[in-house]
Each structure stands twice: as structure tokens, then as C-alpha cells.
Amino acid sequence: MKDGNVIKTIGCLAWREMKRLTAIPIYFFAMVGAPVFSLVFFLSLMYHGLPTDLPVAVVDLDNTATSRMLIRQLDAFEQTKVVCVSPSFSEARQEMQKGKVYGILYIPDGFSVKATTGKQPKVSYYTNGAYLIAGSLMFRDLKTISVLANASVGLQTGTAKGITEEQLMGQLQPIEVETHAIGNPWLNYSVYLNNTILPGILQLVIFLVTVFSIGSELKNGTSRVWLSEAGGSLTVGLLGKLLPQTIIFTLVGFLFAAGMYGYNAFPLNSGWGPMLWAIFLLVVASQAVGVFMIGTLPTLRLGLSFASLFGMISFSIVGFSFPVQAMHPTLQALTNLFPLRHYFLIYVDQALNGRDIFFTWGEYLWLAAFLVLPFLIGKNLKDALLYFKYIP
């Protein structure tokens, strides 16, 4: 075949695929509907970035002006809301079991008197570990309030002795920790989660659709027609078939980028270029993995099961919620097999931290390297397309 012919054949096959994609609604649903729905869902779910007014209970056994002031201060924090002040700890604990509060502040009996006479009354705060995110957000406010309590008592006794506030802070808290959360200074959860979850959903639907579109040729017995239209070349056949999908998925990916970095103004310290390239490479790498899946298990249903399993595991193994470094060494090596993992590392370097491309080019290369996969399984897939008798 001459070059001009190859391009023409690919064009014909792409046209054939476009007709297939528009023939049944499931393609539109999976390729555009599901990703766009997820985009709207996650961006609106976490619109405020950080949860505000998380409910907390206070067990106030002191019940004096000092303890009530402490409660008011806690309530004034943006992230915390005191919903119940109770005289009994077991009642507060029950509220926690009912899921109505995520934390309990315990102010002991005789708190204010003991504090001013140096008897060191102990303030305890409890958080619910079963709700990790809500619990740790609450931890921050409860810790601050207990430090504040220290300061206010110190301030009372200190100023009585004529010490300035600066001297006093040097005494109460000689060393202060100042934190800089690089790239995401507001600790915005929407930034933190969506930058990985949304590309993860894109990767999942690419796996599924790639496997589905090739697998249904097998199932419906049209695979031989497809291959003969490609002049018997699997490479040409795949290029023609997957090209329209590549274009659609890349556009959906760019829409994700527009939603995150444009509309929601997530940090994009690298500029658009590096992230758009990363999205494009994520799309083609995922397609290559999809071809590999249906090539290894050339039955529509088994291929799709493989794709679902692999796609869902990505969300956990990519290490954005639980770091890869803390996983078992075997799993650490396996993470490399997931395109999303390399995309995640690119995002951290580029969009989040704005690092020099020098630190990241290896990950781009990894994504490109996935394109080798279809060639490894090519023979198996071609045999299946030509000779496999479909067993439903």
C-alpha cells in the first residue's frame, strides 16, 4: 500500500467508525455523557473547596463565663459549628454515633478556677476517626482552641504582672511553626481531589469504550469486514477505528481542563501547554491499554470486566489519597502500569508546583511508551479478529 492509500483507508475506516458511534446511544452516553456529568458533579459537590460549619459537641462541666467564652470562640471558627452543649459525655458520644457531630470538646469541672490557680486542668478533645477528613479538619480547630485557651489564661496572669504581649508569646510559645502549603495554600479539597479523580474517570471510560468498540466487532461478527477494509493490516485498522475516539476523548479532556483551570481557576503554575499535552498523552496511552485488554481477553464481556477492574483500581493505586511510598513495594512497582499514575506525577510537577520540565519529561515518556502495548498483543488480537468463534 502507498502512503496516500493508507491515509485514504484510515479516513474511510474513521468514517465507518463515526457511523458506528452514532448508531447506538450507549457510545454517546459513555464517551461524553458520563464524563461531563462527572465533571459537573464533582465541581459542584466541592464548590466551596473546604467544608464549613462541621458540627461539634461540647461537654461543659465548668459552666462559667470562661468556658462559655471558649465555646463561643470555637463556634466562631469558619469550619466548626457548635450544635450541642451537653452536661454528659455519654450523650455527646451518642450524638457522634448518630453521625450528628464529628468532634467533642470536653471542659472539666472547675476548669476556670483551676486554670488561674495553676492546677493545670486538662482540656480533652475527641474526633471521630471513622470520618477521616471531617475528623482531621475538626482536629485543627480544636487544637487551636486549646492553644488559645492557654494564651488567654497566660494573658490574664501575665498582663497582671506587667509583661508585654510580645514577651508573653515568647514565653508561652517560644517556637512558632509557619506553614506554606506549596501550590494549594488554601488546602482546597476540590483542587486536591478533582485534579486526579476527573482524569481517572476519563481513563476509565476510555478503557471501557476502547474494549467495547473492538469487542462488539468480535461479538457481532463484523471483525473480518473491518480488517479487510483495512487491507488486512491491524495497525491501519486500529488507527482508523480509534482516531475518531481519540479526537472525542481529547476534546472531553480539554473540557475538563477548561472546567478546572479556567472556570474554577485551580492552580496552573505551568501554563496550559504541559497539562494539555499530558491530557492528550493520557488519552492515547489509555486507548493503547484498552487495545491490550481486548487483545489479551478477546471476549467482550471478559475484556470489559478487565477494563472495569483496572480502571477502578487506578483511583486507589495512583497514590493521591494514600501515598504510593507507603504501599507495599510490589504495589509500588505495579503503579507504573497505570497511565493515570504518570499523569498524576505530571500534574504534581507541572500544574501544582510549576517545576521545570526537566523534572517531568520522564513521565511524558512513560505515557508515550504505553503505545508499544498494542504491538505486543497484535498477533493475538488479529487471530481473534480473523478466526475466533465468539462464545457469548
Binding site: Y125, E176, V177
Partner: protein
Amino acid sequence: MIQEHRLHYIIRNGFLDLFYVWKDELKRVFKDEGVLIFFFLVPFAYPLLYSFIYNQETTREAKMVVVDQSETRLSREFIRRMNGTADVQVVQVVRSMEEGKRMVDEKEAYGLLLIPSEFSKDLHGGKQATVSLYCDMSALLFYKAFLATATDVSLEMGAEWTARNHPQPTGQMQAIAVEPIPSEHITLFNSQNGFASFLVPAILILVIQQTLLLGISMAGGTAREKNRFHSLVPMVCHFHGTLRVVLGKSFAYLLLYLVVCLWVFAIVPQIFSFPQVGSPLAVLLFLLPFLLASIFLAMTLSGFMTQRETPMLVIVFTSVLLLFISGISWPKEAIPSFWKAVGYLFPSTPGIQGYVRINTCGATLNEVAPEYRLLWVQTGFYFITTCMIYRKQLIRNKQRLTACCRALRLHRAAKQA
């Protein structure tokens, strides 16, 4: 009176048919490799896989680089104490900020602690000294480890410093000067703040619901592909009657999933020693409506699946959304009311909330009453929708059959003529 119209005859036959449908459905499941994957392989493997991934529970020895511009005894003491904790490992101490930044860029460290040159001078001068913590925000757990450790070390060293430099006449005065109000933090229910103990119980519930949706939808799609007239229900005399078909099928799934649940909720948590403080009876009573609601939801959805494989393209991606809508990671107080309402449509939402609180927090059924009630409401609602779907299919079958017979008769008549 004709025997067929007697009540006891109808009831007896109803039960016999129900039993027939039940047995038939079980046979079908075990013959279908695709459905078996969802009913047994996935619920068997997924919990193991997830537990394995999150097995470490917490991050230990998060890597940190320290830029020590102070280079004094005090700054070295601070570094030594940071390194001595279980959560943080100081990989290197460097002099310049550039060098430290390079190490973070090359991922040799995920956090940077800057001890400025005036650190020691400020402390000696009685002023508040500041150390700066820079964190790579790619992993929130690292950030938390760095922040908590740095804060603890600074408080501890600070208290000792004050005690040494401002000796008070009495121990009491000393206590007021250093720390008038000590405080302690206690994590209830998942006391290690373990990641697996937090997320895996929610995933387990989700795995049950999603595999039921996938398996039953796939079985429905298969029936549609194979049966005459592409109907959900085969044209066998035992399948006449909505109630016996719906109940027969759902009891078959329920039986299978009671076995699956034993593995997922009793054995897996034992193997990985997740917190399990709830009473087994409460868990069982809670899971019953959860299973029923999921089964009937799945049977309703299966009415819309015309192909074996399409369910996977529709259902799989919703798992991620359903996990977030449940309010286990993103707090339910922060979920917009529209999405909260959408969440009520799925058994996983009350299922996850209720199961986590019973299993991890030791709540009784009393404390999860709203969730429990919602699950029964869902069971009732989806039971009715399932019956409607199946009834429609049965009526359609009958119509097609009569139409067929009529056509056949006409055909024969034409032939004879």
C-alpha cells in the same frame, strides 16, 4: 367449581412456581460465567486488593529536608527531635534554600523545614522564634505528618525553654507560665487514624451494591438477548404471575449474597483486623434491607438493559460518584442539597453511613434509625417498580404470543384455502 380457581390451589401453585423460578435463577447464575465474575470473583478479590493497597494504614517516615541557616545547638536539637519521631524522617540537612528546593523538586523529599538564621538569637532574646514549613501538596497525609510533628516538637522544646529561662518561685507558678491548660487529643473509633479502617468499610458496602447492579443487569441483558421476543421473562408456564417471578428471583440473589456478605463483612475485616465493634446481630439486621433494596434496584434497572455488556458502560463509573455522595469522605454537611437528594435514591448512601457507624463506631440500630428506615423505604419503592417492570414484560409476552398464534392460524387457513 373448577379446580384452578380455588384459593388453596392458587397459593400452592404460586409457591411451587416461586420455588421453580428460584431454582431456575440459581441454575442460570451458575451457568453464566459473566455473572459469576460479578457475584463471586469481584466481591472475593476486591476487598483483598483494597485492603492490601491501604494495608499500611498510616504514613511512616515521611521524607523531609531541613535548611538549617541557624546552625546552632538549638537548631540541631530541633532537627534531632524531628528525626526522632516515627512520622518524619529528615533525609538531609542543607545550608541553602536553593539546595533544599532542588531536593523537593527531585522528589528526594516531600517537605522542607527552614530554620532561619535568627532562630537561636530570637529565642535567647525572649522573642518568639519562627520556623517555616514548606509542603508538597501532592499527598495530604504527608502534609499532616509534617505539620503535626513540627508543631509537637516546637511545643515541647518551647515548654522546656520557658521552664529553663523563666524559673518561677513555685511549681505552681511554673505550671501557669509554661502551660496553664494542658490538652489531650483522643481519636475515637478508629484510634490509629488508619486509612484502610476509614475507607475500606465504605468500599465493601459499595462493592456489594455495584456487583449486584452489574450482575443482575447482565443477567437481565442476557435474558433479553436470548429469550423469544427479547423479553426479560422466559415463556414457560411457571413464569406466569409477577409476584412469583419477582420474589423467586430476588430470593435467589439474596441467598447468594448472604454467602458473599459472610466473606466481605465477617472474614475480610478479621484477616486485616479492621475495627469491628458493632454487634454482629445489628450488622446482619442492617444489611438485610440494604441487600433487598440493592437487589430490587438492580432488578428495576435490568428492565432497561437490552444487551449483556451495556450495563458495565453505564454502571462502573458511578461507583466513584456514589462513594463521594455517601458522605464518608466528603462530609455530608458540605454536600449541596440537590446532590443529597440524588444520594437518597441509592441504597449505598444510607448503607455506608449506617454500616460504618455500626461497625466502626459501635452504634446500635437505634442510632442509625433514619438510615435504617430509609433502606426499608427504598426496598418497598424498588420492589414496586420491579413488579411494574416485570408485569409489563409478562403482559407483553402474552400479547405477542396471542398475536403470534393468530398469525399462525391465518397462515394455516390461507394455506388450506
